[in-house]
């Protein structure tokens, strides 16, 4: 099994959050539709629309012989060339072949597995990974934003379902990279919705976000308080959404007509099923017009019967979540609806029945997530007082003997989080250790999702049980995992960083970067340069602050040398030679080293003097319990 190992210099992340000046947008990369929004000068989020004023861009991609088309044109193409068109690719992000075959996409397209076991989709002679297809959608969104704003867009906050596991998150980030977008932050969809809702309405207290989209369902409970958006609990199902209801309608129609439709006619029939479903939000009855299945009457009652099993699943998850958090439904102050599927009157009724209160619908459920993402993009680039505190949606663990999962980080733990666990060898002279990292709630490995297998080598040979291998699991604010390990007994500790595999082999990544029209390699170089510039400016600023305070400690003979070194850094800052800049900053740090040392020495001398006085005072205070103190 191939894993994508990324080993980099400490402090030099591959995709740094670079300079502030560029424009950052918020993207809701949805299963059915995607949106892009930006916070304008007025400070309010604005959805960027196409030339026809459409806010939603269908997450549909047509792969023609020499052209890739995204959005409503791709939907049109699907009518005549369904095999060339892919929709709902989000459901396959970070997935293996077997589980993908269970989804509606698996029933419509030819799938295969990559060498790493991840799913590949066959479209018009191309074999594509879900990451590439998502990257095409992101490129189209970026293009729309650039057209609407008449300037370049290279950074984004992208939303993901709260319940996305590590593989799907990493895949989303990778897709953005291929599309030439730097991900400032992955934000959970319900959190983005809460941000939008809370900031707009000034809501405070416990709120539930019920998010039923095209392919995913999330239920989250957040505590909203004075600019702090704190996720308390989250649960969901990444394979539950409006798509399932469409599929159920289609299957019902085929049963009615006693005629199974061939795979290539399903795509278009599904669109009709969806249209009928949407029509039934306002009508009591509609005609389902699918070629060969004939016009069929579909009533709202019939639709609700078909949708019931899916809503039962969603409401069960709600019940379990509240039980887990010991939260009675009455304590929840409001329920915010997110996702196009919550437009169905039946969904609203089920939500109201369960939470015993009418859901909040005054912000468009289709737009609220993208708008929240735009607010967060604005906050990250321009600064703000709002704080998002999220949790990890699924437990992280490690396989132990006999296929049993040892949980390391429990679900609903606030992120960022890091936990260390010590492991040892079980055979004399054992020099390698295999670690298998899994995500999920079940006790056995077979029922969880495998994130990564990695091997820790170079363990000094010892008797069984003597080695101490400390493995650290760190989950960052994006919900992404990094595992590092070191052997502690010998003192010569080695450390590795592992980023779990998420659907692309290393060769594939390299090939894609090479092919990418957006010159991702060049992007990477310019990011490293930007990072070096931020660092150099930080060093100059730090020195300026120190000099303002302690100018007297500078020796006259130093001043010229430091000024020259500073001049060199500034000269290199204006250029684009990263190596020269790094050399100049190192030289500057050397030139200011003695000055920094003198500042330390003086402070320590002063502290020692002060401390002696403090000690005497403390002694006197203890001697006199009345607490009277010398001035």
């Amino acid at each position: 099994m191939t894993n994508l190992l990324q080993i980099h210099e400490p402090g030099q992340t591959p995709a740094p959050h670079a300079e502030v000046e560029g424009l950052a947008v918020g993207i809701d990369l949805g299963t059915t539709n995607s949106l892009v929004a930006v916070v304008g000068n007025a400070g309010t989020p604005e959805i960027l629309r196409d030339e026809n004023g459409e806010a939603l861009m269908p997450s549909v991609v047509a792969y023609l012989d020499d052209e890739v088309i995204v959005g409503s044109f791709a939907v049109d193409i699907a009518r005549s060339q369904p095999r060339q068109v892919i929709s709902s690719i989000k459901r396959l992000m970070g997935r293996g072949l077997a589980e993908s075959q269970e989804t509606p996409q698996g029933k419509r397209h030819v799938l295969s597995a990559s060498s790493g076991g991840m799913v590949r989709v066959h479209v018009n002679d191309r074999v594509l990974s879900p990451i590439e297809i998502s990257a095409d959608i992101l490129r189209a969104l970026r293009h729309r934003a650039e057209q609407a704003l008449s300037r370049s867009v290279d950074k984004a906050v992208i939303t993901v379902p709260a319940y996305f596991d590590d593989g799907a998150r990493a895949a989303t980030k990778e897709a953005a990279r291929l599309a030439g977008l730097q991900v400032l932050r992955l934000v959970n969809e319900p959190t983005a919705a809460a941000l939008r809702y809370g900031l707009e309405k000034g809501a405070e207290g416990l709120y539930a976000i019920f998010d039923l989209g095209g392919g995913t369902f999330d239920i989250s409970v957040l505590q909203l308080e004075k600019g702090v958006f704190r996720v308390r609990l989250t649960a969901g199902d990444t394979a539950l959404g409006g798509d399932d209801i469409d599929q159920a309608i289609l299957e019902w129609a085929q049963r009615r007509a006693a005629l199974p439709l061939p795979g290539n006619e399903q795509e278009i029939a599904l669109r009709e099923a969806r249209r009928a479903k949407e029509a039934l939000s306002t009508l009591e009855e509609t005609d389902l017009i699918v070629p060969r299945l004939g016009p069929l009457k579909l009533s709202r009652t019939q639709l609700e019967e078909l949708a019931k099993p899916f809503l039962d699943r969603a409401i069960t998850l709600c019940a379990r979540l509240l039980l887990e958090g010991d939260i009675p439904a009455e304590v929840v102050k409001g329920v915010v609806l997110v996702g196009g599927s919550t437009r169905m009157p039946y969904v609203r009724r089920r939500v109201e029945d369960f939470f015993k209160k009418a859901p909040l619908t005054d912000i468009d459920p289709d737009l609220v997530v993208a708008e929240g993402a735009a607010l967060q993009a604005h906050a990250l680039t321009r600064g703000s007082d709002t704080l998002l505190l999220d949790v990890i949606p699924l437990s992280l663990g490690i396989e132990t003997m006999g296929g049993i999962v040892e949980k390391i980080i429990d679900r609903n733990t606030p992120i960022p989080v890091a936990k260390a666990q010590d492991f040892t060898t079980y055979q004399d002279g054992q020099t390698r250790l295999m670690l298998h990292v899994v995500q999920g709630e079940r006790e056995t490995v077979a029922h969880t999702r495998s994130l990564a297998r990695f091997e820790l080598g170079n363990i000094p040979p010892m008797v069984a049980g003597a080695a101490r291998i400390r493995v650290t699991f760190a989950v960052d604010a994006d919900g992404l995992l990094t595992v590092s390990a070191e052997e502690k007994t010998t003192g010569a500790s080695t450390s590795i960083e592992v980023q779990p595999s998420h659907g692309l082999t290393e060769e594939e990544t390299i090939a894609m970067l090479r092919d990418s029209l957006d010159h991702a390699e060049e992007d990477m170089r310019s990011r490293l340069l930007a990072e070096a510039k931020v660092e150099a400016e930080r060093i100059l600023l730090a020195f300026a602050s120190a000099r303002r305070q302690d100018d007297v400690l500078l020796k006259d003979e130093e001043r010229g040398k430091i000024a020259a070194a500073e001049e060199e850094v500034r000269r290199r800052l204006a250029g684009d030679d990263r190596d020269a800049l790094l050399l100049a900053t190192t030289a500057f740090e050397k030139a200011t080293h003695d000055f920094a040392q003198r500042r330390m020495d003086r402070a320590i001398a002063e502290a020692l003097q002060g401390q002696r006085l403090d000690d005497i005072e403390a002694d006197m205070a203890t001697a006199r319990p009345s607490g009277e103190k010398n001035a």
């Binding site: 502030v20 704190r230 019940a319 990250l380 960052d476 302690d550 040392q597 330390m600 402070a603």
Partner: protein, 202 residues
């Protein structure tokens, strides 16, 4: 307790080890090696004001969370993340009475049984929990499980009150016994919750 001085990683001048930010250059500082209580400026005791703890936790997160440093250098983002991780860990430990008791016992050198390093030598407790589990297994419906859970839930509340007294009296032996009991009651409540969730599936 005296704060010690160390060199700021950014301007390399003196900064107190407990400072969040350098007073000279303003750079965020790595988390200090202090206990969880000191991190929030709280006294080392079991009986703490939960609301005050939460207020201080959120106040500190608001200053050090990595999102505040999105436009800063990689090093600053890394340090901000370390700070946020440390705060989350400290808050999670102290917020939960059982976590707080276990941590406090470790600080006082009494946490061996609780940490699972020593076996529980309390036959009465073990027998009692075994009986409770059997009762849970025999519950046929939701109200029966709820009734059992309510009984044990009330017991957990009493145990926390008793823990408060034991810690106040600096009776760590008794505190450890009570904490072990609380741990078992928690485990039982978790099992009851799983059973209740099972009823919701229908």
């Amino acid at each position: 307790m005296h704060a010690t001085l160390q060199a700021c990683w950014s301007c390399r001048g003196p900064v107190e080890n407990v400072a969040l930010f350098c007073h000279t250059c303003g750079a965020i500082q790595p988390p200090a090696a202090v206990d969880h209580f000191a991190r929030f400026g709280l006294p080392v005791r079991f009986d703490i004001d939960g609301d005050e703890l939460e207020r201080r936790y959120l106040g500190l997160q608001q200053r050090v969370h990595p999102d505040r440093f999105a436009a800063k250098s990689a090093r600053e983002r890394l340090i901000a993340e370390q700070q946020a991780v440390t705060l989350n860990q400290a808050y999670q430990t102290l917020e939960d009475p059982l976590g707080r008791a276990a941590y406090l016992l470790t600080l006082k050198g009494h946490g061996a049984t609780l940490a699972g390093e020593q076996t529980v030598k309390d036959p009465a407790l073990l027998a009692e929990m075994l009986a409770a589990r059997e009762a849970l297994a025999e519950c046929a419906n939701e109200p029966a499980v709820e009734q059992l859970a309510a009984r044990e839930g009330a017991r957990a509340v009493v145990l926390v009150a008793q823990l408060t007294d034991a810690f106040a009296a600096e009776d760590y032996k008794r505190a450890e016994t009570l904490a072990v009991q609380l741990k078992y009651v928690r485990k039982f409540l978790e099992e009851a919750r799983v059973r209740l969730a099972g009823f919701h599936y229908a």
